[in-house]
Amino acid sequence: MHSRVFCWSRYGNRYRALALLAVALAFANAKAQDLKSFEQRITTKVLPNGLTLIVCERHDAPVFSYSTFVDAGDVNDPSGESGLAHMFEHLAFKGTSQIGTNDYADEKVALAKVEAANDAYEAEYLKAVGRDEKKVDELKKAFLAAQEEAHKYVVPNQFTDVAERNGAEGLNAETGLDNTMFFWSMPENRLELWAWMESSRLSDTVPREFYKERDVVVEERRMRTDSNPIGRLVEQFLATAYVAHNYGRSGIGWPSEVGQITATEAMDFHKKYYIGSNIVVSVVGDVKASEAMPVLEKYFSKVPGGPKPEEMTTVEPKQFAEKTVVIREQTQPFYLEGYHRPDYRDPDDEVYDAISDIMSNGRVSRLYRSLVRDQQIAAEAQGFSPFPGDKYPGLFAFYAVPLPGHTPAEMRDAIHREIDKLKTSDVSDDELTMFKTRTRADLLRGLADNQGLANDLAEYQSRHGDWRELFLQLDKVDKVTKADIRRVANKVFVASNRTSAEIDTEAPAAAAKKDGGAE
């Protein structure tokens, strides 16, 4: 069953070596050329408020894509307020003092009353001793009434409505643990309209319909985490892998925390993190930098300035005990494990990329060939890194989906055998060259898409202080050696640095006795 014959090796290897050489030659100047061609097309500008603008010209079709990269995510949520960054991201779609309201002056007063009513209601509701249920009811009614009053001034979804009527495509946002991104694409003749909208929502957010939106976010949690077996597993896995750093905290928020975030807290978060020095805005498409830059400058100068917020100083202490999570439930088995690794600024960052490529990328990868093709115990097996973020030290994770009749323990053992090979013997020349070739090609392919490029430029500018790093990283990729891979594997993939999580399938009868519900 596991017999496999490499019948082409004699001529094949030689042939493959030649092929690799040809590819290397084809790519030799790719980086330099692309960097040069992009330097001619890209203009950057740092505004007095600290906000960085990037414009990349591409005149194929009369459209542009933008990306706003805010260097703040759920890792920055204060203690007791997990899910706050994400909650604020939702708020950024609710409009400003000029859009989404029929009378902002009166709305502002009404919103202050909502906040006061919520404070009063929460204070009573959260009383540990001597809570007056009748008072709770009354205060809740008053809170709902205040919301209804404020709602009179709302023009629902006007912000997104104006965007969609003006051709916004792929309108969305993403809050990660490290950062928050807002993005869409539009016809090029709406550039100024977009600049007005985007700069307005960054600088002039109104906590409109906040408490309804909080309910929506809690539904998002139920969908992504509570009602999804892998979502549940990953949340427990991270909470176990980290003891101090916020990477261990639920990104979308623990129910009791995200369910009680207030508009005041969201606005405080905005005030602290949505400042010029923390934001990069990139535009890619059919725009002329000489014409666009003054327009962008006019609008984005509205964003408040100020020093960059202090970085989080918590450092995850070195793990010294192996940890394991077992979820027993009526879903199919699954195995996941992770090892702490350094952040993206680590000199070995590209070595981790090499390991995940060699272990996981495609049907030539070691995990596929070993667990899926040869041992036939898994339907899928991969390693990936960093997880759940890259700004702070994350994890190098591996997972495998067992075939019917196979167990998480078999996945674990098989993954460990592959990891041991990395530690005890060098990867082949072919594997290492393949990693370098594919990395270059993937970078080039990614340049074709306006939105993808806008996202990359904004992210690299923010993370490295220079978008050119998107191309320059290829130098570091080129320098990865077999010895690097072995050294890093031996350093990181050790039992005391490991956390694993698995789903063990429980028989229906046993499950029936258990209490249901995740909240």
């Binding site: 000029q98 009179k152 030539v364 093709r373």
Partner: protein
């Protein structure tokens, strides 16, 4: 291009218009300015999408060439008629297995594993796959590798050598999907609601089982391949190539093939679903997945542009009736939306779905049903019509803003036999839709009494109970996975294959 008409912009969402007008003095409304209306919208830059060159060979095979010299890559595909709706029901899942095994097996000259090694070293790809009405082979590489990669792709197209070991691998992976298909609530809801529309044994919904995938043999894959490859192939190539040389290369490859056989006519029978409520209990979730479904129409129908505008008003974007009501106003769902799927050659579904916490299942479902019914009872406003048309037309450009998208659209139209100017006609028809069209279209296609409802959720948590919906008793659906001959610790369907 001044397509925007923001002058009639209502300050208040249509749903609240009546009550809000009583509460807010009109003078107050007029106070708030709309700065965005004052921002100039210049004329859009001239743009004529580059159409691919179409070449029809004597044998009926059609080739499209789309040049794009921005990046040094070439990609291509061969689209082959026939898919899972054409497979033997006793071998349901054949197309999925075929799509995997075709590529992983490789050819007599080079088996799949060696293909993997060779291609990945060049950061190139050749992949195969199947859908409900077609299968396809695709390739992509740096332009300098195209000759070699294309000849490998052609060899795989014309001379595949299906390997029983690779079929077994595909069967194991397919079996893994089957035993896991009830783990995820949304997967259950989508699958089972489609069965309510088309019937459980329809070619569009029948599902692979351990037994049916186990019944598939290498000979079945060969037979499928030999038959389908004789159909009308559509070849599309995109990227950084010389058009004269590429045309010569493709002609040399495809001209010698025998005349393409036309696809046999289909005789599918479609009927509206049995109205009523069905329920699937899943006790490890705290959110209900609600599906409201009915039988729709196909894209040939001249009412499609009107229906698309109607869809936009019902469930299209942030400003749609469903989103405004269920998410924004009630805060009862993160995910809510819906409308008509409009397949190119068979009736699609009408589908509205939402996800809401167990306790609000009844409220959210009632609200969604109310919004569906409102299409026939609550008159459409000019505001709604203008917004829907603006939304659809101002972003229309994104259907052809890259050469790759233009190529894909032309291939699709060719495959389904639509005129090449379909998008232009369709856009012109969207522009013409009127208020009375909407009323008539809703009357013709929105029939709340003919809809079926499915709730997947945590039964004990759903309070008030589904009885409150007044749709009669909820019919349970059994989703137990048939597990013939599966022994713990055994490798699934593999044994059947030996």
């Amino acid at each position: 291009m001044k397509s925007l008409d923001l002058k009639n912009f209502s300050r208040i969402a249509p749903l609240l218009a009546a009550s809000a007008a009583l509460l807010i003095p009109s003078a107050l409304i007029a106070q708030q300015e709309k700065p965005w209306e004052k921002i100039p919208v210049p004329k859009l830059h001239e743009f004529k999408p580059q159409e691919p060159k179409r070449i029809e060979l004597k044998n009926g095979i059609v080739i499209f060439l789309q040049e794009d010299h921005e990046l040094p890559f070439i990609s291509g595909s061969v689209l082959i008629p026939g898919g899972s709706r054409d497979e033997d029901p006793a071998k349901a899942g054949l197309i999925g297995l075929y799509g995997q095994t075709w590529r992983t097996s490789g050819t007599a000259k080079m088996d799949g594993d060696h293909l993997d090694d060779l291609l990945e070293a060049k950061a190139a790809h050749i992949e195969t796959g199947g859908d409900d009405d077609s299968t396809a082979l695709q390739w992509d590489s740096l332009k300098g590798d195209d000759d070699q990669v294309f000849s490998l792709a052609l060899d795989l197209l014309l001379h595949p050598k299906f390997n029983p070991e690779k079929l077994q691998l595909a069967q194991q992976q397919e079996a893994t999907g089957i035993v896991r298909r009830n783990d995820d609530e949304s997967e259950i809801a989508d699958r089972e609601s489609a069965k309510l529309v088309y019937g459980a044994n329809s070619p569009y919904t029948r599902q692979p089982e351990i037994a049916t995938i186990g019944a598939v043999t290498v000979d079945d894959l060969k037979a499928w391949h030999d038959k389908s490859i004789g159909g009308k192939l559509i070849v599309g190539v995109n990227g950084d190539f010389d058009p004269v040389a590429m045309e010569a290369k493709l002609r040399a490859a495809f001209e010698a093939l025998p005349p393409a056989k036309p696809a046999p006519p289909r005789h599918d029978v479609f009927s509206t679903p049995t109205p009523g409520l069905s329920f699937i209990n899943k006790e490890d979730v705290n959110q209900s997945n609600v599906q409201i479904v009915g039988l729709g129409i196909d894209r040939h129908n001249p009412d499609v542009p009107k229906l698309v505008v109607l869809d936009e008003i019902l469930g299209g974007g942030f400003a749609s009736r469903l989103f405004q009501k269920v998410r924004t106003e009630l805060g009862l769902a993160y995910s809510v939306g819906g409308g008509f799927t409009l397949p190119y050659d068979h009736p699609g579904e009408f589908r509205v779905d939402l996800l809401t916490k167990s306790a609000s299942t009844v409220d959210a479902t009632k609200a969604a049903l109310h919004e569906i019914a409102s299409l026939n009872t609550q008159p459409f406003t000019q505001e709604e019509l203008d917004r829907a048309k603006d939304n659809l037309l101002s972003s229309f450009l994104f259907r052809y803003d890259t050469r790759e998208k233009v190529l894909a659209e032309r291939e699709r139209l060719e495959f389904y036999g639509y005129p090449a100017d379909y998008l232009e006609t369709y856009k012109a028809d969207l522009e013409k839709v009127t208020l009375s069209d909407l009323t008539a279209t809703a009357k013709k296609y929105i029939h709340p009494e003919k809809l079926a409802l499915l709730v997947v959720g945590n039964g004990p948590e759903i309070k008030p109970s589904l009885d409150e919906l007044n749709l009669g008793p909820a019919q349970p659906i059994d989703i137990t996975i048939p597990m013939p001959r599966m022994q713990p610790g055994q490798g699934g369907p593999a044994e059947k294959n030996q």
